[in-house]
């Protein structure tokens, strides 16, 4: 069971119920549970959307799209039913923050789903978790059943005539690509998780052809807190154009890895050195992958930057899913790049050529390079391949593979060159001859 961590710099809004037994409905109710949903019913959709807009909340799934705006794009009138789809697929390496919400505060996700539903006029929501989270599904399933039993879900919720909301929960069965929103809808419709062409966007034509709001689980879980404290108050906590707090997972070579709730804009260096206790064993920090494996790497000199979508973009990388991975001096960038690209090669859905072939060539080249068979041209070839994948794939998975690769080559080119000359780190991490997904 994941251990909870804590630090005085944390601002606990989303995590305030963690570790307090809030998975039980009675306890959740004691801790202001479902008050926000009632507020939403009392004040109506327009009020909800305005509060969400005022909060400055930007999607926690990766791209950082303003949530209030996303909800407002859903057409008011629709012939087809509308839906809310909660993305709990959480498969970006380095990311484990939704895990903690599902475990400790599943009702917050249920309540957030209801709120999104009330805001857009949907009567049905889906909570989709990744297949590996089956034990968390059990917790969420129980929470949903408890909510039904108390009249919080179903027909005439909270005893209010004509206000209905249903929630269906399920898991996937192992596929990173299914986290992409249109692939998620395909999967939920019982198909292979291959993305759909856009436009039309899900807000207009989504699940079963109906208008659909798709949000990350953390985004959805933030909604009740925002309504309770007021959007404007929430916005004050974060940085400019980046409202509120978010859960950051700090992992890798730090003294106190864990999931911490920090205000948006919090300094990355402080997050690593103060909050997570600095580099494990007093070693030297080499690099940081700031927001999950698809985000370009930052060097030790580039860490004095605020953790929000805009500041990270300015620093040439991304806030992504908030999964901060800290590497010390013992990590070889060649090895790290290989393991990263190996993941994307394995998870490419194979639909479009630049991604399917590109990730495969990157993996093959990096594998040969890592095994000692590299040559000077390889470094440029890797860069050329990745550059040519950028923006040319059907869905953003191609970019997610190319961006970190370009970062490794750009910022650590010298390591690739030194590797060619025979320089090796003391420790090799990849110790087995067989990589995941190798021919078997």
């Amino acid at each position: 069971m994941p251990t909870l961590v804590s630090h005085p710099d944390e601002v606990k809004i989303l995590s305030r119920r963690f570790g307090q037994g809030a998975a039980e409905l009675d306890r959740y109710l004691e801790l202001d549970g479902y008050k926000a949903a009632q507020l939403a019913i009392d004040n109506g959709p327009e009020w909800v959307i305005n509060e969400m807009k005022a909060s400055g909340l930007r999607g926690r799934g990766g791209a950082g799209f303003p949530t209030g705006m996303k909800w407002s794009f859903v057409p008011k009138q629709s012939e087809k039913p509308k839906y809310v789809l909660v993305n709990g697929d959480e498969s970006e390496p380095g990311t484990c923050k939704d895990h903690v919400i599902f475990l400790h505060d599943p009702h917050a996700i249920i309540e957030g789903t209801m709120i999104a539903g009330l805001a857009i006029g949907a009567k049905m929501g889906f909570i989709y978790l990744r297949g590996e989270y089956r034990y968390l599904l059990k917790i969420v399933e129980k929470a949903v059943a408890d909510a039904y039993a108390k009249g919080i879900l179903g027909k005439n919720i909270f005893g209010r005539e004509g206000i209905d909301f249903d929630i269906v929960t399920q898991t996937g069965a192992g596929a990173y690509e299914v986290g992409e929103e249109s692939a998620l809808m395909e999967s939920l419709e019982g198909k292979r998780g291959v993305p759909r062409i856009k436009p039309p966007f899900p807000a207009v034509v989504g699940l079963y052809g109906g208008p659909t709001v798709i949000n990350n689980a953390e985004t959805i879980a933030s909604a009740p807190h925002i309504l309770l404290m007021g959007g404007a108050e929430y916005a004050k906590i974060g940085s400019e154009r980046n409202g509120g707090t978010r859960l950051f997972g700090i992992s890798g070579m730090v003294e106190r890895p864990g999931v911490y709730e920090l205000p948006m804009g919090y300094n990355l260096k402080k997050a690593i050195y103060d909050v997570a206790g600095g580099v494990k064993g007093g070693k030297k920090l080499k690099a940081v992958v700031p927001g999950g494996s698809s985000c370009p790497v930052l060097t030790a000199d580039e860490l004095d930057v605020g953790l929000d979508f805009d500041q990270m973009a300015k620093a040439g990388t991304m806030l992504g899913s908030g999964g901060i991975v800290v590497l010390d001096e013992t990590v070889s960038m060649v090895e790290f790049a290989l393991r990263t690209i190996k993941f994307y090669q394995h998870e490419s859905c194979g639909w479009c050529i630049p991604c399917r072939e590109g990730t495969d060539w990157l993996k093959k080249t990096l594998t040969r390079f890592y095994d000692g068979g590299g040559n000077a041209k390889d470094i440029n070839n890797i860069q050329y391949l990745a550059e040519n994948m950028m923006g040319r794939t059907f869905c953003p998975l191609g970019d997610a593979a190319a961006m970190p690769t370009l970062g490794f080559i750009k910022k650590f080119r010298h390591e690739f060159e030194e590797y060619l000359q025979g320089k090796r780190t003391e420790k090799h991490f990849i110790t087995t001859d067989e990589l995941v997904g190798a021919a078997h």
Partner: protein
């Protein structure tokens, strides 16, 4: 009683399937969950399971196989009673994921996607399982194990071998 006259699944699973087809706006949506539950029930997705699921969802067997082949957690061959899945992705790799995997290989005497002769354990090297902050991590069936060391792995596998391990389905 299941709506399918001669279901190959356990009564509990058959009952769950009856309910699953009713909760979605479109029946087919139940496909991925059904395949997982079928696998939990039978150990893997058998031909007979494909056939019954197709029948329950009014799909061609081809449609079912098409989806079955896409998802990495679904299998068409038996795994061990305890399927050990070790993450070696970035956060785990740098704090000992491969050491854990190597240790499992030695201790169980099997490689990636192989099953021990007695059918008790199978081993898989897997991509990130969403436990990066508690790395290195592994899952045995659906149960998570974190902050692993080779010694901890031994204790965990001993527990499963002795029937004390948790099995979350």
């Amino acid at each position: 009683m299941s709506t399918v006259a001669e279901s190959i699944f356990s009564p509990a699973t058959a009952e769950r399937f009856d309910k699953l087809v009713t909760i979605y706006p479109v029946k087919r949506s139940a496909l991925v969950p059904m395949l997982l539950y079928a696998q939990d029930d039978l150990g893997y997705v058998t031909d007979a399971a494909v056939s019954e699921i197709a029948q329950r969802l009014d799909l061609l067997e081809l449609d079912v196989r098409n989806v079955l082949s896409y998802y990495s957690m679904l299998r068409t061959k038996p795994a061990g009673k305890f399927n050990v899945q070790v993450c070696t992705n970035i956060s785990c790799m740098i704090v000992g994921g491969y050491d854990v995997l190597d240790h499992c290989k030695k201790r169980l005497g099997i490689g990636h996607k192989e099953v021990t002769a007695d059918g008790q354990f199978s081993l898989e090297e897997v991509e990130c399982i969403g436990a990066c902050c508690w790395a290195p991590a592994m899952q045995v069936n659906y149960d998570f194990h974190e902050n692993l060391t080779p010694e901890k792995v031994d204790a965990i596998l001993d527990d499963y071998a002795a029937g004390r391990g948790k099995d979350v389905k």
